[in-house]
């Protein structure tokens, strides 16, 4: 079996699966259960200054799919609502009992040097393997000048990161908020401040849905609601993009990334790792199904690695990064055309109506008595993938690359581009 162990900016872990800083890592009881289940590490739920935060009731809401599967998850919880002393004592005990697991402590303190100087040594004394700076929490804490309020200002990120590097020798992971325009700016700031790694994404500002009778959004607190932090499967595409942006940014290239956002199975994890993550953090999936999901995640990942011949995580880490580029460098001469496998087609007509109504009128509907047959009108097909996406039968519609006989040519080289750089071979 493939070796799943990792060394993430000096932090050793038996597998790349960590629990993200969140309710599942709030206290010793949960973390011990997580380690018993097989999680490689945890990021202990964010510590702050005393007195601890106070939470409201209720706290979570979700976007459900057709079968009540949770597509997206939203929360308005704050950082730990327990005292610093209790948390530090429990972290110490758990790390001592589970020395082979990665113990990272999430922290959120005001943008002042003193509290960092005071509390960092206490955290280091627990035996923890690293700290994660929570610059991402989108609700409650920003109003107090912390969390995303810091994460949205690169100069503050750099400043706080520098303090941390000054007052602890532990690896410092800076957790980034996605509630910004360009995630590369805070990542660069973290690196400039001396960060050992970044982790992303934190949750996205969100309102999931409303009670239309009471005219109030969820989660409802009294008669009102507020925006929360969005996570779960729905945010995975956003997280993957942000991870890739940092992984391929020349200014941050090589900066270790702990990938977070909608990871629920081994395949999700593999995708994050292929786009540049060295470890992955999970929360929503565990909150919905319990800690045991890590068993299937480990099993699936290692079996897939075996079939691919990847002996360890590093063997495929970042492997998809070189294939992620700017639009302008895509090959304008590449062409795919949809193909319908008539043996698999069940005749639902979704490809036809989707293309007919909203795209390129490239799926013909042939009626023979009661039988319907759908065929691609190849000259009209632009290869958009829409029919393949709406088709309910996996593998029925495939996008087939065409032999155009034309060489690679990107937009910067394209004569149709009025601002063409006309620099063949530049890329």
């Amino acid at each position: 079996m493939a070796d799943l162990s990792i060394d993430f900016c000096g932090i050793q872990s038996p597998n790349p699966f960590w629990l993200a800083s969140a309710p599942p890592t709030d206290k010793a009881y949960n973390v011990v259960r997580a380690f018993e289940a097989g999680w490689g590490g945890v990021v202990w739920k964010t510590l702050g200054e005393d007195p601890p935060a106070v939470n409201v009731s209720s706290r979570y809401s979700a976007l459900h799919g057709k079968n009540r599967e949770v597509i997206g998850f939203n929360n308005i919880e704050l950082i730990t609502d327990r005292s610093l002393e209790i948390n530090l004592r429990e972290i110490t005990a758990v790390k001592k009992a589970w020395p082979d697991r990665a113990m990272i402590v999430s922290m959120m303190l005001p943008c002042e040097e003193a509290p960092w100087r005071e509390i960092l040594p206490l955290v280091e004394a627990t035996g923890a393997d690293g700290i994660e700076l929570n610059f991402g929490c989108p609700h409650g804490m920003p109003e107090r000048g912390m969390g995303a309020a810091v994460g949205q200002q690169p100069d503050l990120i750099e400043l706080v990161t520098r303090w941390c590097k000054m007052y602890t020798k532990l690896p410092v992971i800076v957790k980034l908020t996605p509630n910004i325009t360009d995630v590369r700016a805070p990542a660069r700031a973290a690196l400039a401040g001396g960060a050992d790694a970044v982790s992303l994404i934190n949750t996205i500002n969100s309102i999931t849905h409303l009670d239309l009778d009471r005219m109030v959004a969820y989660p409802i607190v009294g008669g009102a609601s507020t925006h929360g932090g969005y996570c779960g499967a729905a945010v995975k595409p956003i997280a993957l993009n942000m991870v890739a942006e940092i992984a391929r940014d020349p200014l941050t290239r090589g900066l270790p990334i702990s990938g977070i956002g909608g990871i629920g199975n081994w395949r999700d994890a593999a995708e994050f790792i292929a786009l540049g993550a060295g470890s992955v953090q999970v929360c929503t999936a565990a909150m919905l199904h319990g800690f045991r999901i890590v068993e299937e995640m480990q099993d699936g990942l290692s079996r897939w690695m075996d079939t691919q011949g990847y002996a360890n995580i590093a063997a495929f880490s970042r492997k998809a990064v070189p294939n992620t580029t700017d639009w302008k460098y895509l090959d304008m001469n590449y062409q795919v055309i949809a193909h319908i496998d008539q043996d698999k087609c069940i005749g639902c007509g979704r490809c036809h109506v989707a293309c007919e109504d909203t795209s390129h009128q490239a799926v013909a509907r042939l009626v023979e008595g009661n039988a319907r047959r759908y065929e691609i009108i190849e000259p009209e097909c632009v290869g958009c993938n829409l029919c393949e996406i709406t088709c309910p039968v996996e593998g029925c519609i495939t996008m087939v690359p065409q032999e155009t006989g034309k060489p690679y040519m990107n937009w910067t080289q394209d004569a149709r581009n009025p601002r063409a750089e006309v620099a063949l071979g530049e890329v």
């Binding site: 079968n67 069940i346 005749g347 639902c348 979704r350 109506v353 009661n370």
Partner: protein, 459 residues
């Protein structure tokens, strides 16, 4: 109607214990099941299920409405195409119609969406404070409808919607036709059929007169004179005969008569029930009869058919119901003789074994005797010859080789102003849903014809 069976013992058990065996054969979906099942619909374009539905219900649309928690919208979507959507959800052979056509009924999945049960869910859970369809401004026309079954009432409802007044003439004491008198009790249990009729009539403009029997106290000539148009939805009132001696002996009955009595019985324990019975036939009525006899406590019920199972008109689903209820099946046996005991009562039947020979069914000469206290004929229905006796009715053209009323594509008979639909005409599959469609389409034809006639007259 089943006087010929009065010598038989009464059903074993009390009414209450027997009634428990006649509750819903297929239980309704729970809200959770409906949510899960509705999520399976792929919302096909130009969906095959809709094409397979004789009334053209937009199945994908009503299922999407169910899933989006718009059950009233779902029900209206069904009812605007089929005002008997509730009964059809229960009695339609969906396995040969919409669910057969469902794209999820493909080889690799073989699990069609449960369209019938979802349709029932929508109708059962939609509550209307007032009738959901409004009548068009009054046209001043009045149409006579003969027969308050699915065809007649569907026609009446659509005519009422279009602004016409309707008088429905019904022979029996209750409206509903086969829904009230002819469907197996466990398919349409309780007073569902009457509630559905009440709902349908709540549109207004429809008067139903009971005890009005065509050929007895009603004739086509009068109706034709007094009303702007006439729709005949008279069904098939006569049970076919076996053509054997002993056919009128005590112990022999038409299945439809027994089923009607069963459906109307206040006390199931008072019904005569044979210990051993033979049901002759191969359609859904034969299955309904055999299964209901078993549920009433008959020990041994044998369904006899002169051809093989593959030729039976009962659907596979129905045959499964018969098997589940331990009905014996005897195929390749043709009725030869009703056997009577010394008292002249049925004691069994003799059949001749059959086989196919050069594409023809022939007797092999081998005899089969089956002992039984009663024999039920379910070999089909035919037109009641007395109903269309008057001179005008004599002019109704019949289909070649049958006694069914001939109609054109718009359900017009050979007589101008007279229309017909349901089981008394040939097209279709003798299904409730088919009759509903006939009535609806005939109403549209009547509407167009009488308005164009009157405008021509006015010009």
């Amino acid at each position: 109607m089943i006087e010929s069976l009065q010598h038989l013992p009464q059903a074993p058990g009390t009414h209450a214990t027997l009634a428990e065996r006649f509750t819903d054969l297929a239980p309704p979906l729970t809200a959770r099941q409906a949510a899960i099942e509705s999520a399976r619909c792929l919302y096909c374009y130009d969906a095959p299920c809709t094409r397979a539905c004789p009334t053209g219900i937009d199945v994908a649309s009503f299922i999407r409405n169910i899933h989006d928690q718009n059950v009233v919208g779902a029900a209206i979507g069904i009812l605007k195409q089929n005002i008997f959507g509730g009964a059809c959800a229960r009695v339609c052979p969906t396995e040969i119609l919409c669910e057969d056509a469902c794209v999820r009924n493909n080889e690799l999945e073989a699990q069609p969406v449960k369209i019938g049960l979802l349709q029932r869910h929508a109708i059962d859970h939609a509550h209307f404070d007032t009738h959901p369809f409004r009548r068009a401004p009054a046209t001043g026309k009045t149409v006579a409808v003969v027969g308050a079954g699915p065809a007649g009432l569907s026609c009446a409802h659509r005519l009422a919607m279009l602004g016409h007044d309707v008088v429905v003439f019904e022979a029996r004491a209750k409206s509903g036709g086969l829904n009230e008198y002819g469907i197996a009790k466990y398919k349409l249990p309780g007073d569902f059929a009457q509630r559905e009729v009440d709902f349908l009539l709540s549109i207004g403009g429809i008067e139903v007169r009971h005890g009005q029997i065509l050929g007895v106290n009603l004739n086509l000539q009068d109706l034709h004179t007094r009303y702007d148009a006439v729709f005949l939805g008279i069904g098939l009132g006569a049970s076919r005969r076996l053509g054997l001696t002993g056919e009128d002996a005590p112990g022999l009955s038409a299945a439809v008569d027994y089923i009607a009595t069963l459906r109307q019985a206040q006390d199931l324990a008072a019904l005569p029930v044979p210990r051993r019975a033979i049901v002759i036939g191969a359609g859904n009525t034969a299955i309904d009869m055999a299964v209901q006899l078993r549920r009433l406590g008959a020990d041994e019920v044998t369904l006899v058919y002169r051809r093989g199972v593959e030729a039976m008109s009962a659907t596979g689903h129905e045959i499964e119901i018969a098997k589940t209820n331990l009905v014996h099946m005897r195929t390749w046996a043709a009725p030869l003789e009703v056997l009577l005991d010394a008292a002249g009562q049925v004691r069994g039947m003799r059949f001749e074994a059959t086989r196919m020979e050069a594409g023809r069914l022939v007797g092999t000469g081998a005899m089969i005797e089956i002992a039984a206290d009663a024999v039920f004929k379910a070999i089909g229905q035919s037109m009641d010859g007395d109903s269309l006796f008057d001179p005008l009715a004599q002019e109704l053209e019949r289909d070649a080789g049958s006694d069914k009323i001939h109609v054109d594509a718009f359900f017009r008979t050979a007589l101008p102003g007279v229309y017909a639909g349901g089981d008394c005409i040939a097209p279709g599959q003798d299904l409730t849903v088919q009759a509903v469609q006939h009535g609806k389409m005939a109403a549209l034809a009547i509407h167009g014809d009488i308005l164009s006639t009157s405008s021509t007259a006015g010009a």
